[in-house]
Symmetry: C2
Subunit: 397 residues, 2 copies
């Protein structure tokens, strides 16, 4: 007698979350240090101490009625201004407070954006493989997610495939750059090409097509790469950001939506997004977290070197063993071809207490996603297992 | 080109929120102490110092990776256990961790419950006057909110009217006790009568009818009254709670859903609610707030005496002036008959810098809701204005 839609989901549930719980089970049996859990994007490096200091200072010195009280649904004005100023400084944009709406993480941001935009039956594209939760987010508002395959092997944007997938029902495309699960970073050339396709289709179809950017990994780019700041390339861009990864605060649920002035009907979209934030039950982003992140905007790359060291270690070792991997350019995921049938490989890895998530959970079988936001010891400890696993599958073949 | 449903809402927006912003505008013009803002349920009494201490202690002594990291979508196991134990102690229930799901406040809790239960076209009853946001929450999931008028003048439950409103499409009824906006508290007799009606209709129609309890004001009852704990009276009860009012933390967004074992299909409902929490984009309730409230469960009545003093002062003075008011039994709202046309009265009050929300914003015109969760000075300062306002309307009549 519950919702039919959600009842279907109870049968499956999230494989990522199931693996996270399997990790906890194995850790209880064998000890946390004997389990090599690469399943969840839960940063193992702590939040910078500036977050703790900012929170302690707010708690010590701010009037608790103001600190813990309601503020406008879009968030504290001064916090939104600080976020806008920081973006302007880093990306040469011209945002003000009323381009920024504070949210309950990027998941909250995406739900606010989709609630704001979608009518039942609308289609939203995304590049596949992709974070399967997008399907649920779009479905929440009666929309339909249309996966558009990335280019084979490189997993780069296939702009011609995007063009072909656009119909009069297309409301937008969710782009995740740097990418979960593949670790690729789309560069300026790809983004320009995508923007041109969207511009052309907007004009031809006489309707806006929104570029919905999911960018919790924005600051995590390696080898000098950067992820292009999308509002500079395409007017109808709406960004969703989270400090979950950049400040290691995934449990605290803090992020923002950015609606640039150039976005068609900015005032209406921004007002509607504030209402969406309210009526979906978020009401506002948690107040202490808002005040804290506003004071730590300069620390979003503080763990980059550690992730990069992990990336080099893991990619180097796994490719040396014989595995075929996409070399990660951003985020903290390594996307690896399975040397045999995917589910057998994922199962076999558990023998070595190695946990990762099969590619079919990202709509792309024959791969696994290895989240390397872990302690370097976890990587080092897992290597004998990875090696034995590889050999096991060579023999079986 | 945005969502049609939300576009309609942008034309109106929340009168409560608009009044809150009017209050800020007047405060900027005349000084905060010259504005008597009774519009929003934003507690003016600070959170107990135990909240600050708990947060400081967690920040000082807990591993930040655990403190700020992901936990299961339903919340920390030990926090849920602490909440369950506290309820058991206070209400003689037998809850365990897996009856409790931590949420982003009561608004988050209600959205999770409705997402879990509703199929498009389902009807949800509520007692009117009511918090208009319920209509949006129900509509989020394709349902239709059916207001059932309370008894005239007393604003008590009209169980016969509830019975008459139940159809084969009825999925449940949202009950808010103590009540916003009327300040009444339904007692044991009313709840038993309601439970009997629901039991009888469930049986006759061969389907569950859920009692959805919205109880952020649970601890705020006066004159020795208590709000009956609903799971003890009716099996298919699902509770949504928030610490917004009891610990003065509305901006921090922390609450819970309670699904008792006796609820039909408990395991399925609980699992579905966890998925709803995840896919709506909450993911989990903010982690620091979870840990803090678990340590302050004994402090939920710490401001009761102050609200009671406000209630006595305001009710005493307003009735002495000649106003007709429902005597508040709980929550922190005074429900007052307007001595003239409602909107003219609300407008006229602004001349005296007095702000409150018209009853038509709760589906009941001819009344206003006066939120007395303010400083006693605000009440005292407003009294000359209230008096002049009353006289003004006597003359006009």
């Amino acid at each position: 007698m519950i919702s039919e839609k959600i009842k279907i989901l109870t049968a499956g549930n999230s494989a990522i979350r199931a693996m996270f719980e399997e990790g906890n089970r194995l850790a209880a049996l064998y000890g946390r240090d004997k389990v090599y859990d690469f399943s969840l994007g839960n940063p193992n490096f702590p939040a910078p101490d500036s977050v703790r200091q900012a929170m302690m200072d707010e708690l010590s010195n701010e009037d608790p009625v103001l600190l813990h009280g309601y503020m406008p649904n879009v968030g504290y004005e001064d916090v939104r201004k600080a976020v806008a100023d920081n973006l302007n400084e880093r990306f040469g944009t011209g945002f003000q407070a009323n381009n920024i709406l504070m949210t309950v993480g990027a998941a909250g941001a995406l739900n606010v954006i989709l609630k704001t935009l979608l009518n039942p039956g609308d289609e939203v594209l995304t590049v596949s493989p992709y974070f399967l939760e997008y399907g649920n987010y779009v479905s929440n508002y009666g929309g339909r997610l249309i996966p558009v395959p990335a280019k084979a092997d490189t997993f780069m944007l296939d702009c011609e495939a995007v063009r072909a997938a656009i119909t009069p029902k297309t409301k937008g495309i969710i782009l995740n750059n740097p990418n979960n699960p593949t670790g690729v970073v789309y560069g300026e050339a790809e983004i320009r090409e995508l923007a041109a396709v969207l511009e052309e289709r907007q004009k031809a179809l006489g309707m806006p097509i929104y570029l919905i950017s999911d960018e919790p990994y924005r600051e995590l780019c390696y080898d000098g790469r950067t992820a292009p700041f999308l509002t500079k390339y395409y007017a109808n861009t709406i960004l969703g950001y989270s400090w979950s990864k950049s400040l290691s605060l995934p449990g605290e649920r803090i992020g923002y939506v950015c609606v640039p002035d150039a976005c068609e009907d900015h005032d209406l979209v921004f007002k509607a997004a504030g209402i969406a934030n309210r009526i979906l039950g978020f009401v506002n982003a948690p107040s202490l977290q808002q005040r804290a992140v506003a004071r730590c905007l300069g620390d979003c790359t503080c763990n980059l070197d550690k992730y990069d060291a992990n990336r080099r270690l893991l990619y180097g070792e796994l490719t040396a063993m014989g595995y075929t991997c996409v070399k990660p350019q951003g985020a903290f995921y390594l996307w690896m071809k399975t040397p045999g049938e995917e589910s057998a490989f994922v199962e076999a890895a558990k023998k070595y207490h190695i946990l990762f998530v099969g590619g079919s959970n990202f709509n792309c079988s024959g791969y696994v996603r290895i989240a390397y936001c872990v302690s370097p010891d976890t990587i080092r400890g897992s290597l004998p297992g990875f090696s034995a696993l590889y050999k096991e599958f060579q023999i079986e073949r």
